[in-house]
Structures are given as C-alpha cells and as structure tokens.
C-alpha cells in the first residue's frame, strides 16, 4: 500500500499545520544545496524562481531556446481562483468540490483542497508581477466561466492567459538568473536520471546545439516536464512536448500513476489532411458565448458535408443544440469529457458537418446579438438596426477572443465572425503522470514532480483553467515549502561529485541508446512511426475504449516498437545539432508509455472522467463508475517490460464529499 503522507487533522487545517511543522533549511545552509529543475513552463519557472530566491543553488533546464517558449505559453482561456470577486457564492470549498467532482472522484481530497486554498494567492502574486489580466471599466479584475461549474471564477488575459502567466513566471526566473541564483541551461534535454544510494542525485543532459553529453549533480531533482499528450501524435500540445524525462524517472523506479487518464478537449479545429502535424485548440472559454449544434436531419448534414447547404440555410427548428438538450442545467458548459463524448456520439450517428464527417458547429450568432444589444444601450443608441447590433456584438466578441478568431481564420480560411466555427475533440491534456505524495515527492527519494508531469489534482478529468492554477500552485507555493523538509537532512552532504560510478553508468546508458538509434540506419523516418503509434492510440485508447481493442493495441504497439528500433532512419551525426535524433528519443519513449496507457485502461473496468470503457455505461450513455472496486490511484511500477508493469494501488478516501454519479443535467 502506498503512503501519500497526507497530514492528519481536518481538511481545512492540513496545509497550514503541515507548513508549520515541516523541517526548514536555514539560509546559510541553503547555499550549500543544489537543486535541479527540469522544465521551465509554469511549474518549472515558478519553482526555479522561488527556490533560487530562497537561496538554494538552482540549475534549470529546458529544451527550447528560452524558458518563455515552454508549452504553457499556449494556454488560452484562463486560470481559476476562489476569489469570489463576482460575489456569486464562490469559496475555497466550492472550488475544491467542483474539482473533485469534475475529476469524477479519482483525485486526492487533501491535495485538491490545498490547491483551492492557495489559488487566491496566485492571482495576487501574478498581478504584483505585472501580469495584465482583463479588467472591467471600473479597473477591477474581470472573470469568465468555464465548464463544469456554476460560478465565474476564471481570470484571463484575452485568449492568451498562459502566455501572460508564463511571461510573469519567466520574469521572476530571469531576475534570479541575473542574480546568479539560477543557472539556466536552454536547448538542453535531460536524457537520464542519476540515482545514488536510492536517491535522485543528478541528471545526464544533452546539449542540443553541440550534441555534448553532460553530467549535472544535485541534492534533489524536480521534474516539471509537462504532459504526454503527444503519445497520440496529433494533439494540441506543442510539437516537442514529450514524456521522456518522466519516463526515465519511471524506468529508475518512480511509479507512473493513472497513465490512461487523458483529456480529449471538445473544441479543437478538426483534422484537415494527412500531412497534419498538430491540432489547434479553440479555448473552452468560447463555450461561454458559443452554442454547439449539428443539423437535426441526416439529409441536411449530408448536404452540408457535400457543400450543397451552408449552416445558415438550416433553420432554428432543424438544429440540434445537443448539449443544451441533453444537459439543460449546464448546457454548453458541461465538463470536457462529457462534451467530447457527446460530439463523437452525434458524428458517429451521421450528423457531422465537415468533409470527413467529424465536426460540429460552434456558433456565435446569438452572442453577437446579445452583446450588441447591451452595447447599443450602453452607448445610448436608440432603436439600432439588427445589422448595427450584430456589428457592435462582433466588436465585443473580438475584444474577448480576438486572437482565437484570428487563429481560426488563418488556419481554416473561414471567418468565424460570419459563419460558425467547426470543431471536433482532440487530445489535449494528461491527468496521469508521475505518482507523488502530498509533498509532491515521487516514491524515489529526492525526486519531485510538479505541474502536468505529476498526477496529483485532476483525477480522471481536469476542469478548464485548472492546469495553470496547479502549475503555479506547485511551483510558487507548495514545493518551496515541502522540499525543505527533505533537504534538511542533506545540509552536511556537500557537493555531489559527478565522477562517481552512478554517473558513469547513467552516461553510458545514454550513449548506448543514442548509438543504437543512429546505427539502425533503416528505411523510415521517426515521424512515420510516431504517426503509426498515434493512430493506434487514438483508435483504441482514445475517446472510447474496450477490452479487445486495448489488447490489440498493446500487441500493435509492441510491433511498431520493434520495427522502429530495427528500421528507423536518423540522418546526421550524434555529436552535432540533430533535431531528428532528439525526436527519435522522445518517440521511442512514447512507444513504451503507449503500451502502459493501454494496460492501465484495460485494468480499469469502469468508466470515469476521460476514461470511457464502452462496456461500462448507463443506459443513457453516461460513464458508469465503480467506486467499490476502482476508487484508487493505479500507480505502475516498471519491470523491464511496459506491458507487464506491476500495479500498486493508492486507495482514495472521501471524507468531505459524498461520492455521487456525476450529473450535469
């Protein structure tokens, strides 16, 4: 049984009590302690800046040419916080409750409560750093709503919230780099974890410009390396987002929790062709103002697909606003897993609206009218024409989502101010990740995981605007406290030397693997295998899963993996800049992870959140959870073969919420 080290006492006092009793490292001793932070997205940049500021000697790594380019930069819609600025009854408990329920009761109460508790500080901190959140005319902060909740608690900066938050964390990090407290290694990729006497003591990294293999030691290693959605090849993640750092940790003993919990986001631009390299998200915030529909009649849908009808030709009564129909209480703002499955259901039934039949409409016509009418009143325009109202409405919508509309138009060549957007679900986020305890430490001593790289807070489905919150909570406010508790016993250890056998061995592993990849000299490119893997994952471990499909997938993935190692073709040399080699290493790890994801999905004989097993559904097609048998975290242990990983269970206890069937009706 796993020990999550959850502090005792009432839920609302756990974090405060814990903070009051953890060991501290005094300032003079901090200077003798090295910490490696891998990844400088929201979680890593905030952690590295905070740890540097506290006096630790920090080394931070990222594979981009600047921390400002981490994938967090792409987050669009917003960040949640229980500030209750809108006076709509929000509270720490409500944010906690929404998150637990949204996650379909598969996350740890204590962690989620802490997240809700520190959420308000994040907003204060960011504003103090100069993050330009959206404001109302009175000069105070504005909020919007996200799916799965009935309050307005999402702070935002147009459709660029992640960018603004990351630039805030990046500025804090830059300040510490300038002070010499953080040494920043851009264009460096961690390729191995170094373990000494059962503790994480360093990493092996490759300089992606020169190809040099480097050794870096530390007293603790913090992985903030993001999610693994790219296992599906096509996703909304940045091209280079990958699982390798977490996977190396897993191979060195760290448990990988709930790998099958992936989030398929309902509003993404549909696939357009076979050369597609990535998918683009249209923020969930759009569901505040857009209504989702498909034609009610199959003939209309067919005519639209063939280009014989346009969306505006379909009259109101012939449209099916299926989310509003099925879920009247939450309507278009149901959680992501629910919205995605509903879109798939309609498209599978033949109502899809683009050439491939895999798209639904997201329509803003109503929002233009609604906002336009209000705006006309505000401006004192009496009896405005319908055209005038719509024009004003478009301006308001542009002010809220301008960059998203522009992005959509550039990609599709359709103007969403004049015709509804077409959207379809796509892989977006991974709730699973490295298992961590309450202190964010993995089961490997001295190895921590923060942000999307860990599994901790979102259960089987993440609510919108909660990943940014979690990344910054982990990095600014949780890890800086909890890591001291562990490091307090290391103040006399002294610098960890890199000429020890453990470093030799780790470096040799890295070199062997690179040599093996370069030596294959086969026929197919890395992308060829990545696409193949992605197709298996999407078809058999995607929005709907079943036993036989998952078993097939595991076999197919093994075959792809074997073929890859035998027949991949990597140009260039290992001792120079070689983006194909970088990619090959990442894809090789995805091919192991993919199998583990299927194994996890196969073992979880229930449906919950983003994990939908076709065998387990209600007669209305909703997910059917099995709390008696599956209210646990599945934490997998590496055994040398990803298909035969060993299952460890962390049972989840719910003392402050009642387990119910999630209903958004």
């Amino acid at each position: 049984m796993m020990n999550a080290k959850i502090p005792t006492g009432p839920l609302k006092d756990k974090w405060t009590n814990h903070k009051d009793h953890v060991n501290l490292v005094n300032p003079a001793n901090k200077r003798n302690i090295d910490i490696i932070v891998v990844g400088t997205g929201l979680a890593g940049a905030s952690a590295a800046a905070s740890l540097g500021e506290m006096g630790y000697k920090v080394k931070a790594f990222c594979f981009q040419d600047s921390p400002r380019r981490a994938h967090s930069i792409a987050a669009q819609g917003g960040i949640n916080a229980a500030k209750n600025y809108q006076n709509d009854g929000d509270s720490v408990f409500r944010l906690f409750y929404d998150t637990i329920k949204g996650g379909d009761y598969r996350s740890r109460e204590a962690n989620v409560y802490r997240l809700a508790e520190v959420s308000g500080d994040i907003i204060d901190q960011c504003v103090a750093q100069g993050v330009p959140f959206a404001r109302e005319y009175g000069g105070l902060l504005d909020n919007r709503s996200f799916g799965g909740v009935q309050v307005s608690r999402t702070f935002y900066a147009k459709g660029q919230t992640g960018q603004q938050l990351l630039l805030g964390a990046y500025s804090a990090l830059s300040r510490q780099i300038a002070k010499g407290n953080v040494a920043m290694y851009n264009r460096h990729e961690m390729l191995e974890l170094v373990m000494i006497d059962g503790k994480a003591r360093g990493i092996i990294a490759r300089d992606l410009v020169t190809g040099a293999i480097e050794r870096h030691s530390a007293h603790a290693v913090v992985l903030c390396t993001g999610g693994y959605g790219n296992a599906f090849y096509l996703s909304t993640n940045a091209m280079a987002s990958n699982v390798s750092a977490a996977w190396k940790a897993h191979r060195n003993g760290a448990l990988f929790a709930n790998p099958c919990f992936t989030q398929i986001h309902p509003t993404c631009i549909p696939v357009s062709g076979e050369f597609q390299s990535k998918l683009t998200l249209m923020s969930e915030s759009l569901r505040n103002d857009g209504r989702i529909w498909v034609p009610k009649n199959l003939e209309d849908a067919k005519a639209i697909r063939e280009g014989k009808l346009k969306p505006k030709d379909i009259s109101e009564e012939n449209r099916d606003y299926y989310l509003e129909r099925r879920y009247p209480a939450f309507g278009n703002l149901v959680p992501r897993d629910v919205a995605s499955r509903a879109a798939k259901e309609r498209c599978d039934a033949g109502h899809g609206v683009n050439k491939t039949g895999e798209a639904v409409y997201l329509d803003f016509a109503f929002a233009f009218e609604r906002y336009g009418a209000t705006e006309a009143k505000l401006r004192g325009e009496l009896n405005p024409s319908k055209e005038r109202i719509i024009e004003l409405g478009r301006e308001i919508v542009a002010d809220k989502y301008g960059n998203l509309f522009q992005m959509y138009e550039k990609i599709t060549d359709d103007n969403p101010y004049y015709t509804p957007m077409m959207i379809y679900p796509a892989v977006h986020y991974t709730m699973g990740g490295l298992w961590v305890d309450y202190n964010l430490m993995t089961n490997v001593q001295g190895l921590y995981a923060c942000g999307e790289a860990n599994f901790s807070d979102h259960g089987a489905n993440r609510l919108g605007a909660s990943a940014l919150m979690q990344g910054l909570a982990d990095g600014y406010f949780v890890l800086p406290y909890t890591i001291g508790d562990y490091l307090a016993s290391d103040i006399r250890t002294g610098t960890i030397k890199t000429d020890q056998p453990a470093f030799d061995e780790a470096e040799n592993n890295v070199r062997d693997r690179i040599n093996k990849l370069m030596a294959a000299k086969g026929t197919n490119t890395v992308d060829f295998y990545h696409r193949k893997l992605g197709k298996v994952m999407w078809d058999k471990c995607g929005m709907a899963r079943n036993e036989s499909g998952l078993k097939e997938a595991m076999n197919e993935i093994r075959e792809i993996r074997e073929e890859f190692w035998r027949d991949v073709k990597i140009p260039g040399t290992a001792d120079s800049m070689n983006p194909e080699l970088d990619k090959a290493g990442r894809v090789a790890d995805f091919m192991e992870l993919g199998e583990l994801m299927c194994l996890d999905a196969l073992g979880r004989n229930e449906s919950c959140g983003g994990h939908f097993r076709e065998e387990y559904q209600t007669h209305e097609g909703e997910a059917l959870r099995d709390d008696d048998n599956f209210a646990y975290v599945a934490a997998w242990q590496y055994t040398g073969d990803p298909g035969k990983a060993k299952l460890n269970k962390e049972n989840l206890y719910f003392e402050n919420v009642e387990l119910k069937q999630r209903s958004y009706k």
Binding site: R68, R69, D121, A128, Q129, L167, M184, M239, Q406, D527
Partner: protein, 250 residues
C-alpha cells in the same frame, strides 16, 4: 501545386553556408508552411540527405520559436502572423520561394534556419521584471484598480512573443520594438513604477551591449511584427529613457 524552394543551408555557426534549390511537387493549399517543410524533410531523410533544421514548437503563433525570412519578409507574405501560421494557400503553382534564417549580427546562425536569440534573454535578465518575491504575501489583487485603457495597452504590449522578426526586418538590426514592448507594459502599470528608471536604463544598456543597431524610425519592425506591436511603444520607450536619464543624472 508545384514549387521551387531556395533554402539557406549552413552546417554550423562557422560554416559559410549558401542557398540550395529543392523542387517540391504536389503541395496542397491547406497545408501550413511548416508542414510543407516537414514533407521536404521527410523526402530528404528518405534519400539519405540531411533535413533542413528550423526552430518551431507550438505551431500556433504563440511561442515565438519559428523564425524564417520567406521571400525577403520575416514570417513571410501574410501580415500579423508567424511562420507557423502561414498556409500554402498564400502561394501559387510555379512559385519560387526563398527561405532564409533571421539575419542579424546579434542572432548568429546555429544551423540552416536556426539562430541563437540568447541576446533577448540577456536583455530580459537585465531588467524585464518587477522585483517582487514569489512568496504570495502580496496585497490582494483588487486593492489597486487599474484603468481599463491602461490595462489594455499594457496587455497589447505584453503580447510580444520574443520572436525577433522586428530585428530581422530592420535594416539596422535594431531591437527597439522588442525592448519597448516590455518597457511599455511595465511602465503602464502602477506595479512597475518603482523600478521604472532603472529598468529602462538597464535594458537599453544591455540592448546596446548585445550589438543591436540604432532605431531610425522606418517602422519596418512594426510592419512585420506578427503580434502587431505598435510603434507607439518605441515612442514611449524613448520618453521613458529620456526621463530616466534625466532623473538618474546620466
């Protein structure tokens, strides 16, 4: 459509480099420009040649990683977008397309179309921040109301993605637009006022030290900026700089 690509190939920073011609067949108009290059690279690898190295990551115009000069224009022929947002429908059958890296003394080429923009990092480290610790013990975010128009202007300046197209577009390789965007954002917000003087002096000093050229107000930077960062920011930077020089007695 069929195209002829002329691409800058350079093995390493000290290689001389040169343009190499590649014919491209059956390019589809809905492909993105980078997807077109993916296809080329796939062909090159299959033929046993080295693919073209280029920087990219988000492929949706927000990370600022992609950086190419296409037919003489940073980020290519379309306006207000990055290279990764450019689609092939902007080109015609039979076109010849010239693809080069961002050119500037302060952005040395690492390989092919990949350049080193470390100079931007050092400018940000010199002063692109507000000195507040990350303890969370700050004041409540709504304590200081900020005029919406100021907040909006600060936001517009803050949308700079640090791509460096402004430098590549400028005949003097000036980084003024980039620097002015950060200086403006922070100068427009009350939180940024305390360090206003030092910040602008330090950032401009670092910009000069990195070897970026002077600004001669031709506006090429703003014309090519994918985020439409306005020249007003440069005017504001100049005012901030003058003011700071005066205040600090420099």
């Amino acid at each position: 459509m069929n195209l002829t690509l002329k691409i800058w190939r350079q093995k390493s920073p000290d290689d001389k480099g040169g343009m190499v011609t590649y014919p491209m067949k059956d390019v589809e108009s809905h492909m993105s420009f980078l997807e077109m290059l993916d296809v080329l690279n796939n062909d090159l690898i299959t033929k046993g040649e080295e693919p073209v190295a280029f920087d990219h990551d988000c492929r949706e115009g927000i990370c600022g990683t992609c950086s190419m000069v296409i037919n003489g224009r940073p980020h290519g022929p379309d306006s207000a977008i990055t290279t990764c947002q450019l689609h092939m429908r902007k080109f015609n059958d039979g076109d010849t397309i010239h693809i080069e890296p961002f050119r500037a003394k302060s952005f040395p080429v690492l390989k092919d179309l990949t350049v080193d923009r470390g100079a931007f990092e050092r400018i940000m480290q010199a002063g692109g921040f507000i000195s507040v610790n990350t303890s969370g013990n700050t004041i409540d975010a709504n304590t200081i109301p900020i005029r919406k128009d100021h907040a909006d202007m600060a936001f517009d300046a803050a949308t700079c993605i640090g791509c460096g197209a402004c430098v590549a577009a400028c005949k003097n390789s000036s980084a003024m637009l980039f620097v002015s965007a950060k200086v403006s954002q922070l100068a427009l917000l009350p939180q940024g006022h305390t360090e206003r003087t030092e910040r602008v002096l330090k950032m401009v000093h670092q910009m000069d030290a990195e070897g970026f050229g002077t600004c001669s107000n031709t506006g090429a930077c703003a014309a090519e900026c994918p985020k439409e960062i306005s020249l007003d920011n440069i005017a504001r930077l100049n005012r901030e700089y003058l003011r700071a020089s005066f205040v600090s007695g420099e």
